[in-house]
Every structure is written in C-alpha cells, then in structure tokens.
C-alpha cells in the first residue's frame, strides 16, 4: 500500500490526530499527534490491510541549531521517528511525532510521548535507548531505565546542548 493510501486510512480513522503527510522527500512520512501515537501504532499493526508486524527502527533527533552562523535556524523541537515494515504485505511506513524540547518549557523536564512497547516487543529497548540518549519520557513504558549509559549518568548525550561531564567517579573528562 502506498503511503498516500495509508495516510487516507489514518485520517478517516483518527481525524485531526494525523497532522501531515510529507512527500517530495526521499522517505515520505506521516506526522502524528503525540497523544495518538500508541493508538495509531496499534491500528497499523492489527488492521488486515495494513499489518505492520515489525518496528524496524525507533529513534529520536534533537532539532536545535547550535551553529549561530546558520541563516535559517530550525524550529527547536524533538522528534521521534518510527520506521515500520509489514512482512506479509511488504510495505513500509514512516511516522514522526514532534514534541517541544522540554515539557512546559521548563529546562530539564523531559517531554512525554506514549510508549509503543506493548504493540511491538522491540519498542521496549528502542524506547529505553531513546530515553537514555535523547531524553524523552515514554509514558506507560514498563521499565524505562537507561540502557547504554550507566544508571547514574547525568544528561542525555544526543541532545545538541549536552555538555560533557568534567568528572565521573574520579575519572576526568575533557
């Protein structure tokens, strides 16, 4: 199924929660409202003509321009990207969820997105990684702990304004 048809299916089911279909890029994507992502995922996995059995990749990017010389700075936000694949119907779909960099604009308060770990098993680990490295709080996640960094690590390394620690358990940083 083409991404345009998937988009139409989602719009007729979820209405305003499906925000945008971005075409004219290498991998077209559908933007979904943060609150609806868990329901949309469940719908995409279970519907007989969609059947996205696999979550190929879940990742996040911090959109903050740190280069002051850049002429057109991007709108600061954090986005989570879902790459889905259907083994039985052999089609792909890319979803995006955009949230502010910090919850309610308070620096240090992680933005919240519903978890999809109950829809796809691998969502569990991918979300833990996104939480660990990019700093997104996945609500309803059964076990949202750091996965790659040590549990007492501070900050989220893939944030663009992340500063390397000067010291960690007696080990000097840069």
């Amino acid at each position: 199924m083409k991404i345009e048809e998937i988009y139409q299916r989602l719009v007729s089911r979820f209405g305003d929660a499906i925000r945008e279909l971005k075409t004219g890029v290498k991998d077209p994507w559908i933007e979904v409202a943060p609150t609806a992502i868990a329901d949309v995922s469940e719908f995409l996995r279970t519907e007989s003509d969609l059947k996205f059995e696999a979550l190929n990749d879940l990742t996040a990017a911090d959109w903050l321009e740190t280069d002051a010389k850049k002429k057109t700075p991007c709108d600061p936000h954090v986005e989570v990207v879902y790459h889905l694949y259907s083994y039985s119907l052999k089609h792909t779909c890319k979803l995006k969820v955009k949230v502010p960099r910090w919850k309610d604009g308070v620096a240090g308060e992680l933005p919240e997105i519903p978890s999809v770990s109950h829809v796809w098993g691998i969502g569990d680990w991918h979300e833990r990684e996104a939480y660990d490295l990019v700093g997104i709080h996945f609500t309803n996640h059964p076990n949202l702990r750091r996965i790659l960094c040590p549990e007492d690590w501070e900050g989220h390394p893939l944030r663009k304004d992340y500063e390397f620690p000067l010291e960690y358990h007696g080990v000097r940083g840069k």
């Binding site: 890029v25 290498k26 991998d27 059995e53 696999a54 979550l55 190929n56 990749d57 990742t59 990017a61 911090d62 280069d67 991007c74 990207v81 790459h83 083994y87 052999k90 890319k94 796809w120 098993g121 691998i122 569990d124 680990w125 991918h126 490295l133 750091r146 996965i147 790659l148 960094c149 040590p150 390394p157 893939l158």
Partner: protein, 417 residues
C-alpha cells in the same frame, strides 16, 4: 495415581531450593564479549533473564554528528568487527541514497565479492564460537583456519585484517590487486609452492574450490553430531510472531520460518547489486535431504535452525562470489566515483537497511546542508536479536543459556555502538 513414600520420585519433589541471583558476565567467555546476564534462578531452572548492555558504549552516533560521512566509516568498522565490510557497505549505501548517487557496475560487483566473502568469515566465527560455547573445541580450529585465508585475501585488497574501511561512498577505495603471493594458509592446505604468484581473483577461486567441499566436514562435526543436536534442537524456540515483534532479523528470523532477505526484498538501491545472481535463501523448516537429513528433534525456530540457516548461507555465499568473479572482468565503469571529504549533504533524511551476516543493519542519516550530518543513527541487528533473550530464556536450565545466546550470534561492538 497416588505416591507412596517408597516411590523414589518423592525425594525429587521434596527438594526445595532458594531463589538466587546469578551474574553471568560481563567477563563470561560464552557471552561473546562484555554482555552481562542477570539470572534469577531456582536451583537449575532460570526464571528470569535480564541482559545488561552498554559496557562497550562509546556513543558513535554523537561522534558521527561531528564528522563528515567518509570520516565516520572507520567507526562503522568497529560496530560489527567480524563483518566490517558489510557495515561499511550499509553506511556507504545510506549516504549514496541521501545524495542520489548510483555507483558503476564494476563497483557493485566488487562490493558483492567483498561483502559475501566477509559474510562467510563472519558465519565461520559464528559456527566455531557456537561449538566452543557448547564444549567442543575442534570446529573452532577448523573455522579459524579457513577464516585466516579470507583475512589474508582481504588484507591483500585493503591492507587491514579486521577494520577495513574498504567499501566507501561511491565505491571502494582500491581496485582488486593484480598479482599477489599465495596466502600461506592456502598454500599449505592445497600443497602449493608458498612463493607462488597469482592474481587475487585466481587465489580467491582456488580458496572457494577448496572451501566448498569442507562445508560437509562441518556438518559431520556439528550439525549431525548427537551431542550438539541434544544441546540445540527443540531448545530456545522462537515463534515467527515473536521474532517479528521483537525486531529479529537475519538468520534468527529465517530460522523461525519467515522468508525474508534484504538482498531480495530490500530497497532498490541495495537489491540492484544482486540483480541477476542466482542464489537461494535458506529458510526453516528445511526439507532439503542434503547433509544426511534433518534430525528428528528439530523444531521450527529453535537453536539448531538458526545455526543451520547460517551454515546454508555459507554455501550460498560461495555461489554468489563465483558468479560475481565471472562478471568482474567484463563489468563496466570505474571502481569508485569521487566523493569529497567536505561534500555538503542535502537537507533531507533517509533510512536504509542492508542484509549483514547477523541481521538487518539500518542506518538513519539526516543532512542539513552541511558536510557533517545533523543526526546519524545506527540501528543494530544484534541489539534487536538480543532483546528477545529475556522471553526466550524463561524456564530453561542454566546450562542452556549459553546455547540460546550463542545461537543468536551477537557481537557486542554492534549492540553498544
């Protein structure tokens, strides 16, 4: 049926053990690197397994945001260091997809030869180390004897034995060498003069001719070995639904009976490389009576199936390389298209998966008009394959944990990145 006190089984039932937490790793030899498994056990039975990873984490993705793509290629080497060529290939193709580059036919043929050769080397380590996990040492020695020759051949091509950085954006860094001295291992095994000079292609042909019949030996050593079958068959059964849900790919997915290989089903930029090649994709359940038939104890999606898929893939890779070698002399174009170190990337984002020996390795690349990507992400296949250990190891014996984890064939460098 009522039990009397004289019944010997009563003793068995009355044994009570305390629940105990056992740490397996991070320095345990059977965990293939620095993987720590926390087992909650009751006697010999494992109730829960929690993998702890991250001991090798170096945040390669953050480093990638500060380097241009050609500079980041050596970092992909160090992910799956047993199949570094396939990692290079995956990332190079992703960059080529982003900038819309199509490599010439000659570069594609070269990539097929090198990529499949590295796949054989990776599967050989997978096979040898799996035998080692289960307590048999000899297959490991055989596997490393063969792998040594492959490493020698790859060294002749690019100068490195493990971290090649050979496949690069636009093609490969060099063409194949014309004249080489025969690799010492190959000269010894085929009883040839150790100073023999020959072309690289002929050396590889000689190796493949020798390697082909050897696969049968591995099957005698492991596949049909009664002890090996008892330790692997019917154990660690992964259903196709679970495999798909947990994002398992590669031999783990095919061992569960899902017919999916990116070399055939992937995106056009990748499948273009394999156009016109004849090869089979081994998928469980197997009905092929080759190698003396399938043991009766085997169930769909068990350890044995995952192992056997890898063994069958080695034979297929040999076939692919043979076809590629026939094509190579008549392939058109250059082995490399230019890509500048500071070439600007377009403001777009792409995701591409390629079939690496251990599974589908995905790279996600976001450009913003600069030479350095805005975001680069490596989706590791072993990371997803390992995530299934928790549910897979529930209720098995402690001794079966190495058997199950080994059958997933993981490399920690790729999981931790």
């Amino acid at each position: 049926m009522s039990l009397t006190l004289e019944d010997p089984r009563i003793v068995e039932f009355d044994v009570r053990t305390d629940e105990m937490l056992v740490n397996m790793g991070p320095q345990h030899p059977s965990t293939h690197g620095v993987l720590r498994l926390l087992l909650r056990t009751d006697g010999e039975i494992v109730h829960e397994v929690t993998p702890h990873i991250g001991y090798l984490h170096r945040c390669a993705e953050k480093i990638g945001e500060n380097l241009s793509p050609p500079q980041w290629i050596p970092y992909t080497d160090r992910m799956d260091y047993l199949a570094a060529m396939n990692m290079n290939l995956g990332f190079s193709l992703t960059v080529e997809k982003l900038i819309g580059m199509e490599v010439p036919e000659k570069a594609m043929t070269l990539r097929v030869i090198i990529g499949e050769l590295n796949r054989i080397a990776s599967h050989l380590v997978g096979m040898g180390a799996y035998g080692l996990d289960l307590g048999t040492f000899s297959p490991f020695l055989y596997a490393f004897r063969e792998r040594e020759i492959i490493l020698d051949l790859l060294e002749e091509v690019c100068g490195a034995r493990l971290t090649y950085s050979y496949i690069t954006i636009g093609g490969t860094t060099h063409d194949l060498p014309d004249q080489i001295t025969i690799p010492p291992g190959l000269a010894q095994l085929t009883e040839r003069n150790p100073n023999m000079q020959l072309s690289w292609i002929n050396a590889l042909r000689m190796f493949l001719d020798w390697m082909g019949p050897r696969i049968k030996e591995y099957h005698t050593l492991l596949t049909r070995n009664a002890i090996f079958v008892r330790r692997t068959a019917g154990l660690g059964i992964l259903s196709p639904e679970m495999a798909m849900s947990y994002g398992c790919t590669g031999p783990v997915l095919r061992g569960s009976g899902v017919d999916y290989d990116l070399r055939r089903d992937g995106e056009a930029i990748y499948t273009r490389m394999y156009e016109g090649y004849k090869f089979k994709i081994p998928v469980a359940p197997f009905s092929d009576p080759a190698f003396g038939g399938i043991p009766q104890e085997v169930a769909l999606g068990d350890n044995w199936c995952r192992f056997f898929v890898r063994m069958m893939e080695v034979a297929q890779s040999i076939e692919i390389i043979r076809q590629a070698l026939d094509r190579y002399p008549t392939s058109k174009g250059e082995y490399r298209l230019p890509f500048k170190m500071n070439q600007k990337l377009p403001a777009d984002e792409v995701y591409l998966e390629t079939e690496c020996p251990k599974g589908s390795m995905g790279f996600y690349l976001v450009g913003d008009g600069d030479a350095e990507p805005f975001r680069v992400r490596a989706k590791s296949s072993c990371f997803c394959n390992l995530s299934v250990t928790g549910p897979l190891c529930q209720g098995v014996l402690i001794a079966d944990i190495p058997s199950i984890v080994g059958s997933l064939d993981i490399v920690m460098g790729e999981i931790d990145r």
